[in-house]
Amino acid sequence: MILQVEGVGKRFGGLQALSDVTFDLPEGQILGLIGPNGAGKTTLFNCISGVYEPTDGRVTFRGEDVTGSKPYLMARRGMARTHQIVRPLNELSVRENVIVGACFGRENHRLPAAGDIADEVLEFVRLADRSDQLAGSLNVGQKKRLEMARALAARPYLLLLDEVLAGLNPSEIVMMVEIVKRIRTERNVTIIMIEHVMHAVMNVSDRLLVLDYGRQIAEGTPEEVANNEKVIEAYLGDPKLAERLMTG
């Protein structure tokens, strides 16, 4: 198991944003994390990657208890993530952004080696032609790919993707899904992805985990989850109520 999450919960004052989430993630899998807005998906990412310290529970990464560890230590251990709302280092060039990822990530490279990695990764996410542009001048789709490139440059074992498809047009979505698949097959990186674009997440994931109001309501293969009543209810409201309303 590359990652084990046991009974993780997070409370903000009176708000229980996340409670009792438990799952194991074997190496090489892609786990899709879905749920309605405000379900606690990003909070779960933050608890895993060290941005928040969980109120309860335990996170184990590659056999080491990392609960409440700092984000920069998690990066060193081989966990990288992208942000739902992109966070480019605006006044630095695209290439410099990626070099930061390579320099301070798991392999802790020096600048020249980090530069080579940046060039390779930018080629991989198809941003090579933008390398010398300032990161702030990219469009949303390109910024999403930049986030991806920065995370990959760290050479992580585990990659957390937070809505990398949101805000992209259909052709960009196709390109990004392709990239995600190639990350797993060519780079042997385990992935957890939060996603709202259903056909994409169903297509890419080996397994899905569904959150609703901070609780884990279902887990299983895409087919199992798609037919799970609780999941349908969470997304559509009460299915029987919907049915009754439809039939008059």
């Binding site: 990657s49 700092k70 984000p71 942000h83 480019p88 605006n90 006044e91 410099e96 990822g101 990530g105």
Partner: protein, 323 residues
């Protein structure tokens, strides 16, 4: 050729500074030396502050505290313990660095305006403390016995010596500034400036890196304090911890271009020239600080990148030469 291209930014910076330094040495006039002394002091202080303000993005309104504390520690060693200028300068730099390290651990977790406020508080607290600290002479401060200068070839010679030591320190600051700007450590600082949380997620150990940037930006001001008050012959709390001196440093960094190596040199030169003009003009002599305030406002509103940053944005050809 490629080496020249690679280090063009450094060559231009050093070239500009060499011209400044050589001017009084060629003319040999005391008045030119005094003017250049003021400018070089500003260049060195502004460049030190730039490591924190320009590279790391943390605004310190109380940076003069390191100049004052270093000055006091060194001055005490020279006047009361009879130590040489060299050892005293070293001690001044070390004490400023230690203070920055301790402060960094305590207040660098504050962001934006809160950090800036804390730095003002620290400067005021330090001044109040020195004011009441008898070994350092309390409110009346300390004076150097004139005989001290004999070891340095007499008072007249000591002035020239101070000038050359200052020039050497300024070179050191600029080389450190350049090395930081082009190093992995510096890239970590820039990442923090752009987005501290994102930088941490990418693996930048922000608390540590920020603290070292703060220490680095404090050491040279501590040494400069010793040199300045050695040349001055006396030290008092008010001139050592002048808050508006900190603000002038910020104006100089912003004017020249924060986050660039060359910017603080041009900013310091520009600001000191302007100040020299204002102080001697009958209309402006009483309101020269107000003019500095307005200048800061105009820069922040219209050219936040400063002269060098503006040129870099507008004229891409110059990017390699202006760093």
């Amino acid at each position: 050729m490629s080496t020249v291209r690679k280090y063009l930014g450094l060559i231009v910076t050093i070239g500009v500074l060499l011209m400044l330094v050589a001017w009084p040495a060629i003319t040999g006039k005391d008045i030119t030396r005094e003017t250049t002394f003021t400018i070089l002091l500003s260049v060195a202080l502004a460049s030190s502050l730039n490591i924190l303000l320009g590279y790391t993005g943390y605004v310190s309104f109380g940076h003069v505290v390191f100049f004052g504390l270093g000055g006091y520690v060194g001055f005490y060693l020279m006047s009361a313990q009879g130590m040489s200028l060299w050892i005293s300068m070293l001690a001044g730099g070390v004490s400023a660095g230690v203070l920055a390290f301790l402060l960094g651990k305590a207040i660098l977790r504050l962001r934006g305006g809160y950090f800036a406020l804390a730095t003002i508080g620290i400067n005021e607290a330090m001044r109040a403390f020195i004011n009441n600290f008898e070994p350092f002479g309390g409110p009346t401060g300390m004076t150097l016995n004139f005989s001290v200068y004999r070891d340095y070839g007499g008072a007249g010679q000591a002035l020239w010596l101070s000038y050359y030591v200052l020039a050497a320190l300024t070179f050191i600051v600029l080389i450190v500034s350049y090395l930081v700007r082009t190093s992995k450590f510096g890239l970590g600082l820039l990442a923090i400036r752009e987005d501290e949380d994102a930088a941490e997620v990418m693996g930048v150990n922000a608390p540590n890196v920020k603290t070292w940037a703060y220490v680095l930006s404090a050491i040279i001001p501590g040494m400069l304090g010793v040199l300045f008050f050695f040349k001055n012959g006396s030290i008092e709390p008010a001139p050592a911890f002048r808050l508006h001196f900190s603000i002038e440093m910020i104006v100089m960094v912003m004017l020249g271009g924060q986050g660039t190596v060359l910017g603080p040199i041009l900013g310091a030169y520009g600001y000191q020239s302007l100040r020299g003009f204002l102080l001697t003009s009958p209309i402006f002599k009483d309101i020269q600080l107000a003019v500095a305030g307005v200048l800061l406002l105009v820069i922040v509103l219209f050219v936040p990148a400063g002269v060098v940053g503006w040129l870099r944005q507008r004229v891409p050809v110059l990017r390699r030469a202006l760093q």
